[in-house]
């Protein structure tokens, strides 16, 4: 067996296609981007080497960068807090098969079949000051005084996006957790019951540790996609009002493509990349790489 599973030619044949394709498309443009981050370049003209100046400007005179960095952090934490516990609880409560549960599972998954841009269009109407459903509900509850122009409130605009994106994706993480629950063998639960574990106690001591690797997957997915978040913010608030809801990826896009400072945008992208690598590393440490075994 040992011999069969370490056959070099088989390994090569299995790994090479993926690695080659990937190497063709990902590392080279990435290195190019890192190179551009040392240039002043408007995409179309000739690039001019400026050393670390783009980085210096980001940290010294870019008043939007600080907001973007802070917002990206809040965005990530907010998305995790809103989605993971909800998805976990739903997955655990929905493991029992009844007709209704099947319905719930399908319904909760629906929003992530729609593009981020379309979801954001939809939420524009939900948050709308005059015709939006949130203000309408508040008014019908006699809480008209709480009604707001949600997307134009500097303190709320970012959370508006976090809520809409969580609405879109909680069902996806629920499905990841449901998939992982299927890998837990029922004997473990039976044994636990014999030991006197019931209800949420069982969930906390048995289900949660066994699902940890999948929670890690979800955490990493949410973290990396939050750090790269773009579509939803772009469509829903367009970084406004007055940059208050901007995030790093959007700031990068605005600078690189809309304000034609590609080199500067590339420098922002490099910072974004470093952030992603560091955070994924941290998550990996926190959750461990080894699966729980029973």
């Amino acid at each position: 067996m040992q011999k069969m599973l370490s056959n070099k030619w088989v390994i090569l044949a299995f790994v090479a296609p993926a690695v080659l394709l990937y190497a063709m498309v990902v590392p080279y443009p990435l290195l190019k981007s890192i190179q551009y981050s040392f240039y002043r370049w408007n995409i179309i003209g000739t690039a001019q080497f400026v050393g670390f100046q783009n980085y210096v400007r980001i940290f010294t005179s870019d008043y939007v960068f600080t907001t973007a960095l802070k917002n990206t952090a809040l965005f990530t934490i907010g998305s995790i807090v809103l989605q993971i516990p909800l998805a976990f609880i739903l997955a655990v409560s929905l493991t029992k098969v009844t007709r209704l549960n099947k319905f719930f599972k399908s319904v909760y998954f629906l929003p992530c079949t729609i593009s981020g841009a379309a979801v954001s269009l939809l939420w524009q109407f939900i948050y709308h000051p005059n015709m939006g459903i949130i203000n309408a509900v508040l008014k019908s509850l006699g809480l008209g005084g709480w009604a707001r122009t949600w997307l134009a409130e500097p303190d709320f605009a970012l959370w508006a996006v976090v809520i809409s994106i969580s609405w879109q994706w909680f069902g996806y993480h629920m499905v990841i957790f449901l998939t992982s629950l299927s890998t837990i063998s029922p004997e473990i639960f039976e044994a636990a019951e014999v030991d006197g574990a019931t209800g949420w106690k069982k969930v906390w001591y048995i289900t949660y540790p066994l699902m940890k690797p999948f929670i890690k997957i979800s955490m990493i997915l949410i973290t990396t996609s939050s750090i790269k978040a773009f579509d939803n913010v772009y469509v829903l608030t367009g970084e406004g009002p007055a940059n208050s809801s901007t995030v790093l990826a959007l700031h990068m896009y605005n600078r690189a493509f809309l304000q034609l400072q590609y080199g500067y945008g590339a420098a922002l992208a490099v910072i974004l990349l470093i952030l992603c690598v560091v955070l994924s590393g941290v998550l990996n440490k926190v959750f461990g790489t080894k699966n729980a075994e029973y």
């Binding site: 179309i44 003209g45 400007r57 008043y63 009002p241 007055a242 493509f257 034609l260």
Partner: protein, 392 residues
């Protein structure tokens, strides 16, 4: 050959362009077009810059003008049309000199402007009649309109500042009335600072209007099309926007139900009611490495022919050529706008065009801060810092 232009959604430009291509093909059956007209604004900019970066510029394409066009020309992606124009004086002469100036760089002419735009104030005639209001001639008249409409539960000025360039329009109008054209053009040329007191003063005037209730309190959360629909339905008295709105206002409320005026002079200010924001926004160019320059040029000549320019006027777009607009047959509002523009004693660009893509956006963001109630002096200081920093 490939042809690319900005899709403006529900717009007559798109129909005009498609008709033009069909007619051109009837005369030149050998020409095949590959269309790229799906995007607008930011996305169009992303597409066209990427194509240019890689030298895959379309054969004929739409561009912006002035500061927003400059990087494309500098990079050598656009074909100089001047020699072709000079060989054809009759055609050259048919184009208006003003708009052409905004596509001229270092003596070369790199695109032919398609439309002329003015930015004005529209008023709802029904609302004015109901409240006994007339077109304002003085600043006091203008303030009175705001007061009266407000008292009668009508929104004085509809504005959709969720798209920040719309909020910049009233500010630019006020700033001209306060500081005068000269000061503004000097500032745009970098000879004067944005911290000049005329801009802070203009911000204060804008905020005085806000405090009177001239705009809705949630003005930063409203999209331009909603603001427009309030104006159309008579829930708002005024609507500040460009002359490209004429075709859509005509369709939605009928040309007889609204009118156009220019912002009155502000007491103590240096501006004039006859100074307008006028600019050519869209222009058509030929890619520098196009393999079909002959066909491209004859297409441009066809687009700007007498026949197709008459169609431009029919679609209620202000032409950038010398095509005759007959007041008897042309749309009344189109004629009204053209008359206002013909009577101009001076014009300026909307500032975000000469400032270019980067600073133009930053300026519009700064103006949004004014709508959020921030102190004008500090907003302008911050903007000046951005300007200084961008010049490194």
């Amino acid at each position: 050959m490939t042809i690319m232009w900005q899709n403006a959604g529900v717009d007559s430009t798109d129909n005009w362009m498609r008709d033009t291509l069909t007619l051109f093909q009837e005369q030149n059956p050998n020409v095949e077009f590959e269309l790229m007209d799906n995007t607008w604004g930011d996305q169009y900019l992303t597409q066209i810059t990427t194509l240019m970066a890689t030298g895959r510029t379309p054969d004929v394409f739409a561009t912006w003008t002035s500061g927003r066009m400059e990087p494309f020309v500098e990079a050598g992606r656009m074909y100089d049309l001047k020699p072709l124009l000079e060989q054809d004086p009759e055609f050259y002469n048919f184009l208006q000199a003003g708009p052409l100036a905004s596509t001229t760089f270092d003596g070369g002419i790199y695109a032919i402007p398609y439309n002329l735009n003015g930015e004005f104030i529209y008023y709802n005639k029904q609302v004015f009649a109901d409240l006994g209001l007339t077109v304002p001639e003085t600043w006091e008249d203008f303030l009175n309109i705001i007061k009266t409409t407000k008292e009668n539960g009508i929104i004085p000025i509809a504005l959709g500042n969720a798209e920040i360039w719309t909020g910049a329009i009233p500010f630019m109008m006020i700033a001209e009335r306060v500081g005068g054209l000269e000061a503004i053009n000097e500032t745009l040329a970098g000879e004067r600072k944005w911290t000049d007191e005329i801009f802070a003063r203009s911000g204060e005037v804008l905020q005085e209007l806000m405090n009177m209730g001239a705009f809705e309190p949630n003005v930063n959360g409203i999209k331009p099309d909603e603001a427009r629909s309030k104006f159309v339905m008579g829930q708002a008295a005024l609507w500040i926007n460009g002359t490209w709105e004429i075709s859509i206002l005509n369709a939605q409320m009928g040309p007889e139900n609204y009118g156009i005026f220019s912002l009155p002079e502000i007491p103590g200010g240096k501006g004039s009611i006859d100074h307008h924001i006028v600019f050519a926004d869209q222009a058509y160019a030929i890619g520098a490495n196009s393999e079909h320059k002959d066909v491209a040029w004859s297409l441009l000549k066809f687009m700007f022919s007498q026949e197709r320019q008459e169609a431009v006027v029919r679609s209620n777009v202000l032409p950038a050529t010398k095509v005759e607009v007959d007041p008897a047959t042309a749309d009344a509002r189109l004629v009204e706008a053209l008359d206002l523009m013909a009577g101009a004693s001076g014009t300026m660009f909307p500032w975000d065009i000469p400032l270019g893509t980067f600073l133009g956006t930053e300026l519009n963001k700064a103006v949004q801060l004014l709508y959020m109630g921030q102190s004008p002096a500090s907003v302008m200081q911050q903007f000046q810092r951005t300007v200084d920093d961008a010049a490194f």
